[in-house]
């Protein structure tokens, strides 16, 4: 653990000025990723600017029927908020199925979006990793890749984006609001906020150094009142998804009027399953269509020998999620 300068910012402008002035500095929110990785010699900030005192903790219903979440709202607070439970159950469920109770109390929503990958080789400072040390190679491709991605991968990185909440927010067409080093407000569409690894896996989002997430905005989405988050993992709690699905469905007279599907655990970013949605809009809400849509989504999947099962599992999870929402999928007793 290297020597670190620590300061506690009292307002947003000061925080941004402090970080943008020093390329070796990082914001510190809940610290549930940053501190771990710092202790493991994976991240090497020389200065931490604590932003926990900034007034960015609100969870507000918008008059249009949407939601605005401050970047420092804690996962557990957002999960419990009545407006979230009522309007966006998939988000509440995704948050509650993430991490552990202790972590959810600490971790911020902004930090949740920026959490680093769980790839063992990224987290082992001694192993080659293009994300941690560009140009050193990807250890996962021929290594232990059971949890790794099958969509959005490149020959340089196959690490899975770990967030559950971001998968739900992807389905909800959320926007990320930031303040740049110049003090200007910026807004990113959720899909644009997460970059595919391509040939620069160390770049995970489009923000510049010193830019601060201030809020996550979720537009009104009546379809989301009938939504769920399905998470499949080996361990019943405190484990990242092998496959997850954030789905919302609206069926009118047996025909799908609106549908949202995103996938977690299988892609290098929270993965909006647009092919599923395009296939299903206007189609009959039935298993064969769900299965066909899922097949189309995974058709370009590229797997290793260890994670090939995810291609099939993801399809089954999509079908299960949509069947559950149509009401004829069985509920789980266990």
């Amino acid at each position: 653990m290297r020597p670190i300068t620590y300061s506690r910012a009292i307002d947003t402008a000061t925080a941004i000025a402090a970080v943008s002035a020093d390329p070796t500095s990082d914001f510190l929110a809940g610290g549930t990723t940053e501190i771990d990785l710092l202790r493991q010699n994976v991240l090497h900030p020389r200065r931490l600017v604590d932003i926990n005192d900034l007034p960015l903790t609100q969870i507000e219903a918008t008059p249009e029927g949407g939601l605005r979440i401050g970047s420092l709202a804690r996962m557990s607070e957002v999960a419990a908020a009545p407006v979230v439970r009522e309007r966006f159950p998939m988000l509440s469920q995704a948050l509650e199925l993430g991490a552990s109770a202790q972590l959810r109390h600490m971790a911020s929503m902004g930090g949740n979006l920026l959490q680093r990958v769980r790839c063992s080789y990224y987290r082992d400072a001694e192993s080659p990793c293009n994300k941690r040390e560009p140009g050193t190679g990807c250890s996962a491709i021929e290594g232990f890749s059971r949890g790794h991605a099958v969509l959005g991968t490149s020959e340089h990185c196959i690490a899975t984006h770990p967030s559950d909440a971001a998968v739900a927010l992807m389905s909800l067409d959320a926007q990320v609001h930031t303040l740049g080093p110049d003090g200007g407000e910026r807004t990113y569409a959720f899909d644009d906020f997460f970059l595919l690894p391509v040939d620069s896996p160390h770049r995970e989002h489009p923000m510049e150094h010193g830019e601060l997430i201030t809020a996550i905005e979720v537009p009104a989405a009546p379809v989301a009142r009938h939504s769920l988050y399905l998470k499949i993992r080996d361990r019943e709690s405190y484990e990242f998804a092998l496959v997850s699905v954030a789905a919302a469905l609206s069926v009118v007279d047996g025909i799908i009027a609106d549908v949202r599907v995103s996938l977690g655990g299988v892609a290098t970013k929270p993965w909006r399953a647009r092919r599923v949605e395009d296939f299903l809009i206007g189609a009959a809400a039935q298993r064969s269509n769900f299965a066909q849509a899922a097949r189309v989504e995974l058709i370009d999947a590229r797997a290793t020998s260890m994670n090939a099962f995810k291609v099939e599992l993801a399809q089954r999870a999509i079908v299960r999620a949509l069947e559950t929402l149509t009401g004829d999928g069985s509920e789980s007793p266990a």
Binding site: S120, S127, I232, D234, F309, L313, S330, A334
Partner: protein
């Protein structure tokens, strides 16, 4: 010893309050003024040679006191052989000591120690070391080593033969009406106790005190003495609180001696704590392995032959394999048997004991194969096991000192509701879930220590007693049960007795390993306590002023500190005070049964599990488990039940969760963290029902205690795997069973 009040009571832990209030001090929490902090550096590569270490920037950091590497660390005096710590001799985890030359044998091998005035500075300076290597391709996986496998003469620190045979295996299998052949693979496992290992070392001249997180303070003392060439009389080892071990602290790994060496180098006390990541590379592990088992049986289910072969990697220095063919070779009557270990040299540290070492993996193979045999023959699984029940060890022919196995089947089955089970797989469905049940036998050897175990009892004239033995309590509850044993031995209430332990200045006890702790320590404590009681009785009957004067000592009974013979009585306190004696003391020793005693000793049990499998997702969730065990006398049912329940949940982890893998090219572990190496959490834990089947055993030790630390794990994974088959019709022979195996 007649029935006595304290033994058998569910007494709360005597160390419960200090633990939950945080006043218990573990080895990393001993406040010694001037303590410096040591940080170990592990090798990045798994195979090769260190070509250079640039320590200049590390040394230049403020507060850094020393950077020790193979270039400047003093040589060890002597490398003791690897002998299991139960033997009561030096017990290094491997016959390799780091930083004696530039060769790298495995990833994470300790190649440097950085000592600084604070932990943070030591960590930071360690990260500044620049080490260059000449790398050679490592061998770490079964696939990489399979072709170089050899058959070792002996394994397990030389304690066990590499091959065990009886009868004629080929003839036995040839005469069989039915055969089951199955190959099981097992991922490597890590212990993950809540407290990472730590040693704090303090020299005073040429005398050394070590605060060590260990299963045996004497084992630490004996091992460090040999490595450093220091007389035993000048090393004291203290381990008052130990936060779990599961075998990771059963052997003495190099950090203990390295802490002492570092402390000598810097002339200050040194605290050396392993990081969570280092717990995956510094204290051994359960090796990755493959087991092939062949069962032959007659049409009515009597075993005619068992062939059991195992392949696993070991280090470059030791022929180690956990003894998977031990209990599995003994538990059923079978005249023809062959068990063979095959090893290959790999870039790994020597694997080590991990809870139910060998029994858990070997019985998984046997009990899953027995389930297949039951299916093939159409014999009910418990009935198949009863047909192969034996009253005696099939290898020695000696009768079990006690068994209780049939009662375990009967009571376990009754509690679980096994009777009337439809044997056909895939017949029960609840929503998306297929439901199945399975069972297995459990067995764990009763392994006495190799030499006498000692304890000391002292009674003060105020009527309180102090009973002492060196053993640490690494979370098992031994300090609590020994308080009970002491109270009954003395004839005193338990709240007037204190058990002091975890210090080599106290009477010698071997490392509490192999589930032997409760048996051997209770024997020593009972011996000391009854010796003191007899001494006081003798004194009373000889005391002209005692109401007991002239009584026959054998007629005197003691309860609540009062000696009574007929209508006459005298109390311990009165006796001592009358004679102006501040205290009385006695030592006790127990010599374990000789190796050639005509008995075989094993703890038995029966395991049952119900699982739900979502076949579309390949998900397995355990819904309930029942285990019935016959551990001899139960000293404290509350603690015994906790131990057995913990073992059963370990079986759940073995069956469904726990796995580590090395990278085929770098040889580094992939899952060296608690986030990625999955241990069962509360949400995974089903309803666990433990039934204690008490059996009398006059052979194993004076109180008839056979141990509960490990048998709870044996067979639990097999019961789950068999239940998965019963739910789905699929035999998965890879541990852990994960989603991809059932899709």
């Amino acid at each position: 010893m007649t029935t006595a009040p304290a033994i058998g009571q569910p007494l709360d832990r005597v160390d419960g309050r200090p633990k939950v209030t945080g006043t218990a001090r573990y080895s990393a929490e001993i406040p010694i003024p001037g303590t410096a902090y040591a940080c170990l550096v592990g090798s990045r590569v798994a195979s090769g040679r260190i070509t250079g270490i640039d320590a200049s920037s590390a040394q230049a950091e403020e507060g850094v006191l020393a950077v020790l590497t193979h270039q400047n660390l003093p040589r060890i005096a002597e490398q003791p052989p690897l002998v299991p710590s139960l033997a009561g001799t030096a017990a290094p985890g491997q016959t390799f000591f780091p930083m004696q030359d530039d060769i790298v044998h495995y990833a994470g091998q300790h190649i440097a120690i950085v000592v600084a005035d604070t932990w943070e500075r030591a960590q930071h300076a360690a990260s500044l070391l620049r080490v260059s290597y000449e790398e050679t391709p490592p061998v770490t996986t079964l696939e990489q080593g399979r072709d170089q496998a050899y058959e070792p003469e002996r394994i397990f620190g030389g304690w066990l033969p590499g091959r065990v045979e009886r009868g004629n295996i080929d003839a036995g299998l040839a005469e069989a009406d039915a055969r089951v052949e199955a190959t099981f693979t097992y991922a490597a496992n890590n212990h993950n106790p809540i407290e990472p290992s730590c040693t704090t070392a303090e020299w005073d001249g040429d005398e050394l005190v070590l605060y060590d997180s260990t299963q045996g303070v004497n084992a630490t003392q004996l091992t460090v003495a040999r490595l450093l060439g220091t007389p035993l009389s000048k090393i004291r080892v203290i381990g008052h609180y130990v936060g779990g071990s599961f075998g990771s602290k059963a052997m003495i790994h190099d950090h203990a001696a390295l802490a002492a060496m570092a402390a000598r180098e810097v002339g200050r006390p040194v605290k050396l704590a392993l990081s969570r990541e280092q717990m995956f590379t510094s204290v051994g592990h359960r090796e990755e392995q493959e087991q092939e088992i062949v069962l032959g049986a007659t049409r009515d289910g009597r075993l005619t032959g068992i062939r059991h072969h195992k392949l696993s990697p070991t280090s470059h220095f030791d022929d180690w394999a956990e003894p998977s063919i031990g209990v599995a070779s003994e538990i059923y009557a079978c005249p023809n048997y062959q068990g063979v270990y095959r090893l290959f040299r790999a870039n790994t540290m020597t694997p080590t004991f991990m809870r139910a070492p060998g029994e858990a993996s070997g019985m998984l193979a046997l009990e899953c194969a027995m389930d297949e045999l039951a299916q093939e023959l159409g014999v009910e699984p418990i009935e198949l096991r009863l047909r192969n029940y034996t009253d005696a060890s099939p290898s020695s022919g000696h009768p079990w000192s006690s068994s209780g196995l049939r009662e375990c089947y009967r009571r376990g089955a009754a509690r679980f509701g096994w009777e009337g089970r439809d044997p056909r797989p895939g017949m029960r469905r609840e929503g998306n879930w297929l439901i199945g049940t399975g069972m297995a036998s459990a067995g764990y050897p009763v392994a006495p220590p190799a030499n006498p175990q000692r304890a000391r009892a002292r009674l003060y004239a105020d009527g309180t007693a102090l009973v002492q033995a060196a053993t640490p309590d690494f979370g098992t509850g031994v300090a609590t049960v020994m308080t009970q044993v002491a109270a009954d031995g003395l004839g005193m209430p338990v709240d007037r007795c204190r058990f002091e332990n975890g210090d080599t200045d106290l009477p010698n006890i071997a490392a509490a390993v192999g589930s032997a702790g409760a048996g051997m320590i209770s024997a020593a404590v009972h011996s000391a306590a009854t010796a003191l009681r007899n001494q006081l009785i003798a004194r009373a009957v000889a005391d002209a002023n005692s109401p007991l004067h002239g009584a026959n000592p054998v007629d005197v009974v003691v309860r609540d500190g009062v000696m009574t013979a007929g209508t006459a009585s005298d109390s311990y306190v009165d006796l001592l005070q009358r004679n102006v004696q501040p205290d009385a003391e006695a030592s006790g020793a127990w010599s374990p049964p000789a190796g050639d005693a005509p008995y075989a000793m094993m703890t038995f049990g029966a395991q049952f599990a119900e699982v739900a499998v979502d076949p579309e997702f390949g998900l397995v969730r355990v819904r309930r488990m029942t285990g019935a065990f016959a551990p001899g006398r139960v000293l404290n049912p509350k603690l015994a039940r906790s131990q057995l329940m913990g073992g059963m949940l370990w079986g759940l982890g073995q069956a469904l969760l726990e796995a580590n893998y090395t990278h085929p090219r770098t040889g580094r572990w992939a899952n060296a963290s608690l986030g990625e190496y999955l241990v069962a959490v509360n949400a995974d834990a089903p309803d666990v029902d433990v039934e204690l089947v008490e059996v009398e055993d006059d052979i194993v030790n004076p109180l008839g205690v056979k141990g509960v630390g490990e048998v709870g794990q044996v067979g639990a994974a097999a019961a789950i795997a068999n239940a998965v088959w019963h739910a789905t019709g699929r035999r998965v022979r890879k541990m852990p069973i994960t989603i991809e195996d059932l899709l």
